[in-house]
């Protein structure tokens, strides 16, 4: 991240998890309204920092991920309300309109379903790359992603997550995580890999305050601010057999599957291993 300077404009992409299965939302369905309001305000604050700053907002719903802003529809004429800058009104309106559209058109949900955040992030990375490529040569654009989610860690998106994180690292895209409910081990790793910040919000009421305080400044400025120290990241891997995080495991030398217990035959690629011989106890030294 050292090349990025705070003078360059920055593109912020917010991924917001709107899946109704999230515990936060299930406990209090009005929380979603609060989250959306906070995010709109936060996005506008980002745009206000620098006239060249760019913003994109993606919703990750239970059936699909969709761009809320910018969207295909043409900017309509907005009357000034409350003295708010028309462009900000437009941003807020299009986020809300598109999301309500998305929610209304969503199929009815009967079971809990996981938010496919990893796929959403991949989509965002593609978008960022496209924007970066369309930049005029010589101009620099800082890019980062903010994920606002109350979902749980999902082990089965592990591979996709890792691919996303390492791509982001390579493309110098910082991934910030704002966890609303659960401690997200996997996404913490992503923050650590890409140089973003991880925060688990202690109380949802003050969400906007947390967002503005921690995630508004660019990563290049953050080192100069008094921000919460980064959390120690748990880099344990999940085993393929029980999906549990393990400290020490066994890795198949052929297909690199991870197992928590030794088995003589790899269940992924059916390679047969030699049974390790028990280590001989050391001979006691002869006393001289």
């Amino acid at each position: 991240m050292s090349e990025n300077t705070s003078d360059d404009p920055s593109l912020l992409v917010i991924a917001v998890d709107t899946n109704p299965s999230q515990i936060v939302i299930r406990k209090n369905p009005d929380a979603l309204t609060k989250i959306i309001n906070s995010i709109s305000a936060f996005g506008n604050a980002h745009l206000m920092q620098k006239p060249q700053n760019k913003l994109a907002v993606v919703a990750c719903h239970h059936h699909e991920s969709k761009f809320l802003y910018p969207s295909a529809e043409k900017p309509q004429e907005f009357r000034q309300i409350d003295g708010q800058y028309e462009f900000f009104t437009f941003v807020e309106k299009s986020i809300k309109n598109n999301l309500s559209e998305l929610i209304k058109n969503a199929p009815n949900i009967s079971n809990n379903s996981e938010s496919l955040l990893a796929g959403c992030l991949a989509m965002i990375l593609c978008y960022i790359l496209r924007i970066k490529k369309s930049q005029p040569t010589g101009s620099n654009l800082n890019t980062r992603i903010l994920v606002v989610t109350g979902s749980e860690d999902s082990a089965h998106q592990y591979m996709t997550y890792m691919n996303v994180f390492f791509t982001a690292q390579k493309e110098r895209v910082a991934i910030d995580i704002c966890a609303l409910d659960n401690t997200l081990v996997l996404l913490q790793q992503g923050c650590d890999i890409t140089g973003g910040h991880y925060l688990k919000v202690p109380q949802l009421d003050g969400l906007l305050q947390y967002l503005l305080w921690i995630f508004l400044p660019d990563p290049s400025i953050r080192s100069k601010l008094a921000l919460p120290p980064p959390v120690k990241v748990d880099y344990r891997a999940a085993c393929f057999c029980h999906r549990e995080l393990i400290d020490i495991g066994f890795v198949c030398s052929v297909c690199l599957s991870i197992f928590c217990k030794f088995s003589p035959i790899c269940t992924t690629c059916s390679t047969v291993f030699k049974v390790p011989l028990p280590i001989k106890p050391k001979k006691k030294k002869l006393k001289t």
């Binding site: 369905p29 809990n112 919460p228 999940a238 006393k287």
Partner: protein, 585 residues
């Protein structure tokens, strides 16, 4: 002439010219001085300490000169212009030369070469210098101990300096720049190195030189002829038979042919190389008439050929050198590789050899195919990837494909389990999912209304959040440690850094002694223990005391880690000692 009164003049030579002004050369006890004629002014004054060596102009030159080369690379040239003629000039110069020769060794700084090398090593490695300062100068360890530890580095330097030999530079011929002296003449300065290079690159010239020089031609005549022929005549088609080097060209050419024949690489067909251009606009016109063009232009062809030949010969000198340095004969593989490199340089080689490709029999063709296979295997084989070539060939036949029972798992990692992964959601009292969904859908209709800022965030919640995020808040725990660096002055930081460097070095040596199985290691262990103790009391303790006094709240924090390191070492030592005592009893 105040100068003369103070110092004894050993020799005084009048009629000497320096930079086109006449004067007198004085050789004194400690320096060489040149004074301009009729002036009380010293034009040049070189202390013998500064003089590195002296050079004299070669015999037969019209000017009798003496050059003093200085340590810093500069030089001064004195021209002897005795009116009585060359004989006297020579005599003058000889006297100066001999005197300087006898004096100069007295002033040579008698630096032990070893000491010099140590000095060089220290100046090149600031880290090592710091270690030396901390450990040796403060008498924690002796100089010998220090050098036994770091002797490896020293030896490395020695090895490097002795081993490398200078090869022949590819552009050595263009390096010899002729000096135009203004009257339609060129002058070449030939150093022994250049001559050596020419001989090595052009064995034919060396042969000629050996044949002709002492008897038929003088040294300078020979080189004049060489340059005349090399730079001028060779590009002309009509080489006079009387030219000394006409033969050489033929010899070189036949050698080239031989070498091309020798390099029988099955994957390389030298004679098929065409001199195609990359694209129109590079070098020559389009591809079609390229052939006609190049074939017609014999001058181009000759130049390309000569460039190729030159590179060929240069590369060959490297090969010979390696052959000489390696006492054991080169293996076939190496030979091949070298041939490759030579061939590589000859890619642009035109059809030099007119030999007809002989019609191959079936067997020969098979053999060639086999050879090709071998070559390809050689190229794709890496020594560090395990077993040797033949072994690999066997393995090739028994390669098994990966047999994936669960392809999904291989591609995506841990798979979702069948049971509901949201079990723990039951822990909370939550509304059924469909109800939540409905509520949200209903809520969206209200979104089009304007949100007042009070709705956006409650002031109390904002203040609470701010409290959590301020230093001392819930989220900011562990924040202070992070910023320790802000309170530590840079000098202290640097000092601590050096302390760590030295301590790390000593501790490294200490831990290397474990397990002390030989008496030598035991000895070393005892010594290292003493050394660390000395280091602890002479360096760390004073530092700690000072830090605690000056930076009271941080003092103990700064040195706690280094103390821990040393305590650990001491503890290990004492436990080892106890065990040893127990054993003896």
């Amino acid at each position: 002439m105040a100068q003369k009164k103070v110092e004894d003049v050993l020799l005084q030579i009048p009629q000497v010219r320096y930079k086109k002004s006449d004067g007198t050369l004085y050789i004194m006890k400690e320096r060489v001085v040149f004074m301009l004629e009729n002036k009380d002014q010293i034009a040049v004054s070189h202390s013998f300490y500064d003089i590195k060596m002296q050079k004299i102009s070669p015999e037969g030159k019209p000017k009798i000169q003496l050059q003093l080369v200085l340590q810093d690379g500069g030089n001064s040239t004195f021209h002897f212009v005795n009116k009585n003629g060359t004989q006297h000039q020579m005599h003058d110069r000889e006297r100066v030369k001999e005197l300087i020769q006898s004096i100069l060794p007295n002033f040579k700084r008698k630096i032990d070469t070893e000491l010099e090398q140590k000095n060089k090593l220290l100046t090149e490695n600031p880290k090592l210098l710091q270690l030396y300062k901390d450990l040796v100068i403060s008498k924690v360890i002796t100089s010998e101990e220090f050098w036994t530890i770091h002797g490896k580095d020293l030896q490395n330097i020695q090895n490097v300096s002795s081993k490398q030999e200078i090869g022949v530079s590819g552009n050595f011929l263009t390096e010899i720049k002729p000096i135009n002296d203004g009257c339609n003449q060129f002058k070449y300065n030939l150093t022994p190195e250049v001559i050596e290079s020419v001989f090595r690159a052009y064995p034919a010239v060396k042969k000629k030189h050996a044949e002709h020089v002492p008897n038929k031609l003088t040294e300078s005549e020979f080189w004049t002829k060489f340059f005349q022929s090399h730079y001028f005549h060779r590009d002309r088609i009509t080489t006079g038979m009387k030219d000394l080097f006409a033969e050489c060209g033929k010899m070189d050419e036949s050698m080239l042919k031989k070498d091309i024949k020798k390099s029988n690489d099955p994957l390389l067909n030298l004679s098929k190389f065409g001199d195609n251009t990359i694209e129109e606009g590079f070098c020559s016109s389009s591809l079609v008439d390229n052939k006609i063009d190049n074939a017609g232009n014999i001058v181009h062809q000759n130049i390309i050929k000569r460039f190729n030949q030159h590179s060929f010969l240069i590369l060959k000198t490297c090969k010979e050198q390696q052959k000489n340095s390696e006492a054991n004969p080169i293996t076939d593989e190496q030979q091949d590789k070298k041939n490759n490199s030579i061939e590589g340089s000859n890619k642009r080689q035109k059809n030099v050899d007119n030999e007809v490709v002989p019609i191959q029999t079936e067997e020969e063709r098979n053999e060639q195919v086999q050879k090709k296979k071998m070559r390809i295997a050689e190229k794709i084989h890496y020594d560090d990837l395990g077993n040797d070539l033949t072994q690999q060939n066997k393995d090739m036949s028994t390669v098994t494909n990966i047999n994936l029972d669960k392809l999904e798992r291989y591609l995506y990692g841990p798979m979702p389990s069948n049971e509901n992964s949201f079990v723990n959601s039951n822990k909370y009292k939550v509304a059924p999912i469909d109800v939540v969904d409905m509520t949200i859908r209903k809520n969206t209709s209200e979104w089009s209304q304007r949100v007042t800022h009070k709705q956006l965030i409650n002031p109390t919640a904002a203040v609470n959040a701010l409290g959590e995020l301020s230093p001392g808040g819930v989220l900011m725990s562990g924040y202070h440690d992070h910023n320790l660096s802000q309170f530590v002055p840079t000098e202290v930081e640097k000092e601590l850094n050096n302390l760590y460097l030295s301590a790390g070095e000593l501790l490294h040596e200490f831990w290397l002694c474990f397990p002390p199985i030989t008496p030598e290691l035991e000895m070393k262990l005892l010594k290292m223990h003493d050394t660390i103790q000395r280091f602890n009391s002479s360096k760390i303790k004073p530092f700690e005391d000072r830090i605690i006094r000056d930076l009271s709240p941080l003092g103990s924090q700064l040195v706690s880690h280094i103390n821990l390191l040393i305590d650990t070492a001491f503890r290990k030592f004492s436990s080892w000692k106890e065990k040893k005592v127990g054993k003896v009893k």
